[in-house]
């Protein structure tokens, strides 16, 4: 299944590149000496033959659209091909909604996906869809078929979502007392080194100048002491509220193993519950924080 998808992917990407329909296809290639995968920028049909598709393809490649060299290609009117799982395609939808990319300037190779493996969990033996080794986001996945694509690779009917609650780990936290949550987060954030891997891995963090870099006024203290780390993560969470597609890349990218993705995934859940909005599902939908309903929750207001 994965192998036939991989062949289809190579074929499609190769076609796009040989027809010069796109300047580059951003996909996955072999990682360190064949161990795992990493992003691959295919610029020629030959390079497209190096594209891979398997359950280690965790990265959300949409983050590359706002970085070099894709940014430059898009700015000069060129076209970029991008390999997207369902969750990645949700990020593309948000980028479209927010005017960061034009629909015609990206060719989305959508991949039907039945889950990717959690690189943090033990990799031995587990296959996607069968065990706890898939990422939490893959449990009960609603976007095994991407909500946005130009070419679809894989059989939508054949995909089976992993069982379980995608927000289970978040709910564990919710069931704690306030004090327990506080010590959970301070324990973790004490390790934050402010390398901004969470921000850089995030496809939604495309601002040319991040609020962390603004010094007049200094919104967020630069030091990575707890105060500076908490302020950073709180403000980042609010910047992502209603926009986060729960791809979990922030948590995966963190070299200090801080589960920052829990914050954004929690808020995404809250936004969905209160405002009936799930980010990245429909390019035509109005984002949660660009609209309102008169009967929005207001019991907290005096």
């Amino acid at each position: 299944m994965q192998e036939s998808s991989q062949n289809r992917l190579r074929e499609e990407a190769g076609k796009l590149l040989s027809a010069a329909a796109v300047e580059v296809v951003v996909g996955y290639g072999d990682g360190h000496g064949g161990d795992g995968v990493r992003p691959l920028f295919a610029r020629t049909p030959d390079e497209a033959a190096g594209l891979v598709w398997n359950d280690a393809c965790v990265h959300n490649l949409a983050t590359y659209l706002s970085r070099e060299p894709c940014r430059q290609i898009l700015l000069r009117g060129g076209k970029v091909g991008i390999v997207a799982k369902g969750c990645d395609a949700r990020a593309l939808v948000v980028l479209l909604q927010e005017g960061q990319i034009a629909r015609e300037s990206v060719h989305v190779i959508g991949m039907v996906c039945d889950g990717v493996l959690d690189p943090g969990a033990a990799v031995s033996g587990g296959t996607a869809g069968s065990s706890g080794a898939v990422l939490p986001k893959c449990r009960q996945c609603e976007v095994q078929t991407p909500p946005l694509y130009d070419t679809l690779v894989g059989d939508p009917a054949g995909a089976a979502a992993a069982e379980g609650d995608p927000l289970e780990d978040v709910k564990d936290l919710q069931s704690m007392s306030l004090e327990e949550r506080w010590s959970f987060w301070t324990g973790h954030l004490a390790r934050c080194i402010k390398c901004y891997a969470c921000r850089q891995a995030c496809p939604m963090c495309y601002c040319a100048t991040c609020i962390t870099e603004k010094s007049e006024p200094q919104w967020i203290d630069k030091p990575s002491h707890l105060k500076g780390a908490l302020a950073y993560h709180l403000i980042r969470a609010m910047h992502l509220a209603g926009r986060c597609v729960s791809c979990g890349e922030c948590g995966r990218a963190c070299p200090m193993d801080i589960p920052v993705d829990k914050i954004s995934r929690y808020l995404a859940g809250q936004v969905e519950e209160a405002f009936d909005y799930k980010a990245g599902m429909d390019p035509e939908a109005t984002p949660a924080f660009r609209t309102y309903r008169e009967d929005d929750p207001e019991d907290f207001i005096r």
């Binding site: 080194i193 390398c195 901004y196 891997a197 030091p223 990218a253 070299p255």
Partner: protein, 339 residues
């Protein structure tokens, strides 16, 4: 000889001798070099800690001074002078200190680092294991290398042979009741699976500031600071103030050339583009530091490879730049030191 299980009592004795002890400890399944209390037992089976020793000696967030903004006075905050011991650090981390010393102690002197460093005893536990990211041997070091260590503990079965390497190290083992082993046969060091060829690298870097290769090798990089901040030899810093109404504080914090605002001045940005910033990283480690202090600023600890969220692999990149010069290792040549 000291048995592996006795290392916790070494910690206890060091603590009661007044040392601040830093040792590998496990949190959420990962091993970090962190402050160890009396009674802690160090992790010993890991390959390497997530953070490097610079996390202790060149802290990521170091208060420099307090300001009173009402009468505008400064109160300097001295670097902690208490003796500290880095226990069970790895040979590559110990070697990183020799590189930091060369950069930070001469000709300009980082007085804070100097004070911390003078008061630090480095007790290394040689490696029994290496992973796919380790490439210390390619940088001129090795799993049993003594560079930068005051004492090295060489694994021998369930115990370690104790080899003091400096006067500081000798004094320390005396204080904690360890005895030096003159003889003894340590376990053979682990074989590394990765070699990184650096022949010709320096010569290539000397000539190729402008090369299209920089764009190619940095294409995957997303511009975060993970590799910089975990690297034991990356030492760039920023100085920043925090202020309330009446009081403020100045900090020295880590900073890195990956970030656009690293070199950005009001109205001028000399280093434009991610490839230029990645070039600075490679150039700084493998050319500029060699030009200035005759050392390569890399110990092959592999952290940048292990923790890159997008699989950027410095080993592959170094090999892909030139064809064919060996890295300049720090410290005396292996085996040349007495002790």
């Amino acid at each position: 000889m000291v048995s592996k299980s006795d290392l916790s009592s070494v910690i206890a004795r060091a603590v009661s001798a007044g040392y601040e002890v830093y040792a590998p400890g496990k949190r959420n399944g990962k091993v970090y070099l962190e402050k160890a209390d009396d009674g802690a037992s160090p992790e010993l089976d890991h390959v390497i800690t997530v953070n490097g020793v610079k996390d202790i000696l060149l802290p990521r967030c170091e208060p420099l001074a307090d300001f009173n903004l009402t009468d505008v006075s400064i109160e300097s905050i001295d670097a902690p002078a208490a003796g500290r011991v880095l226990l069970a650090t790895r040979p590559c981390d110990a070697a990183s200190l020799v590189i930091l010393d060369a950069i930070l102690l001469d000709p300009a002197r980082d007085t804070r680092y100097a004070r911390m460093r003078e008061e630090t005893v480095v007790v290394t536990v040689a490696c029994s294991r290496a992973d796919a990211a380790c490439f210390c041997t390619s940088m001129g070091y090795g799993p049993h290398d003594e560079t930068g260590s005051d004492v090295i503990l060489l694994p021998a079965g369930d115990s370690y042979l104790v080899r003091p390497l400096t006067e500081k190290g000798k004094a320390f083992i005396g204080e904690v009741g360890l005895e030096a082993d003159a003889g003894g046969e340590p376990d053979s060091p682990p074989q590394l699976t990765r070699t990184v060829r650096t022949e010709g690298l320096k010569a290539w870097l000397d000539e190729n500031f402008e090369s299209e290769k920089w764009r190619d090798v940095s294409i995957n990089c997303i511009g975060c600071g993970a590799c910089y901040y975990l690297c034991p030899t990356c030492h760039c810093f920023d100085i920043t103030d925090e202020a309330g109404v009446a009081r403020g504080r100045r900090y020295r914090i880590w900073d890195c050339c990956s970030f656009a605002d690293f070199t950005k001045m009001a109205g001028h940005q000399p280093r434009v583009g991610r490839h230029a910033r990645y070039r600075q990283r490679i150039m700084h480690k493998f050319k500029y530091t060699v030009d200035n202090v005759n050392l390569t600023a890399c110990v092959g600890d592999g952290r940048c490879i292990r923790h890159c969220p997008v699989g950027v692999d410095i080993g592959e990149i170094l090999e892909s730049l030139p064809e064919g010069g060996a890295a300049r290792r720090g410290g005396p040549e292996p085996g040349s030191r007495e002790g």
